[in-house]
């Protein structure tokens, strides 16, 4: 009975969860860095993004555009390093809740799915934490 339960629930895979958490952080952090870096580095791209936000009815787009871009850049670095992961996960989740509410919902379920994944993974990292292979884990251990 116990071996049947182990076969169904595959509990022996559990030790791999820290490696997969690292993979989740690298995927989310890497993707956000890839997406936000051009807007953070080029003034023309940032102005383009502000115009995009203005078109979708965001308040004060010239303030919101750099705020969103720099929040994503900082969150991406935090997730990759596993430093302040809980805060970074919350920031990512909040940013993409706003993205769905203001923009992605107009593209239907398929168009909103990447943002929905970023919300779910941001909240997961905020709640479960970054795993063993992270600066947060090292800091917690040393304290």
């Amino acid at each position: 009975m116990t071996s049947l339960r182990r076969l169904l629930t595959l509990t022996p895979l559990h030790p791999g969860s820290d490696v997969i958490l690292l993979l989740v952080r690298l995927l989310v952090g890497g993707f956000l860095l890839f997406s936000a870096a051009p807007y953070g580095l080029e003034g023309a791209k940032l102005a383009e993004f502000a115009a995009f936000m203005g078109k979708y009815g965001f308040a004060a787009p010239h303030l919101m555009a750099p705020l969103s871009v720099w929040a994503m850049l900082l969150a991406s670095l935090a997730l990759i390093a596993g430093f302040g992961t809980g805060w970074a996960g919350l920031v990512v989740a909040f940013n993409f809740v706003v993205a769905i509410a203001m923009v992605d919902r107009l593209q239907g379920i398929t168009g909103s799915f990447p943002s929905a994944c970023l919300i779910a993974m941001g909240l997961l990292l905020a709640a479960v934490g970054p795993g063993r292979y992270a600066l947060d884990a090292r800091i917690a251990k040393n304290s």
């Binding site: 791999g16 989740v24 934490g129």
Partner: protein, 143 residues
């Protein structure tokens, strides 16, 4: 000590089961939504066979229903939290194949949703579905 807790937000770990449930519902719901038209309409299944054939899959008439029903079963398993780890492995395998055969042609942005499904599948396979799941209920009953 307080500074470390402010940085790492351990208080959020109380929400980890709710975050796992949310992630399972988002991914499971999307998987079912993504294949439902292929299940409901023979015409759409034939269309999907043609799509697989175009991208060089062997035996598309066999692979199309296999992939569609595997995704549907994964969606149901994620939502209910039953045999979640097996479903996570199948989901991850399915979308590794999707990236290797199709999505890599669309670049990083195009491959991101499938990459999310790979890492979320692997995370559910290793960590399990959390407490708010049928697997956890079965484990408690047989403990």
């Amino acid at each position: 000590m307080r500074l470390v807790e402010t940085l790492t937000l351990p208080v959020l770990s109380r929400g980890s089961d709710a975050a796992m449930l949310l992630m399972r519902l988002v991914v499971g719901g999307f998987l079912i939504f993504g294949v439902w038209d292929n299940i409901a309409s023979a015409e759409r299944m034939t269309e999907f066979e043609g799509f697989l054939s175009k991208f060089g899959f062997p035996s598309p008439e066999f692979m199309a229903p296999l992939s569609v029903w595997a995704q549907f079963a994964c969606g149901v398993a994620f939502i209910t939290g039953f045999a979640t780890r097996w479903a996570g492995l199948i989901c991850a395998f399915n979308f590794v194949v999707a990236i290797a055969m199709v999505d890599h042609h669309q670049g990083i942005r195009g491959a991101f949703p499938s990459a999310c499904l790979v890492v979320i599948g692997l995370y559910l396979a290793t960590y399990g579905p959390g407490r708010l799941a049928f697997d956890a209920w079965l484990a408690r009953r047989s403990a």
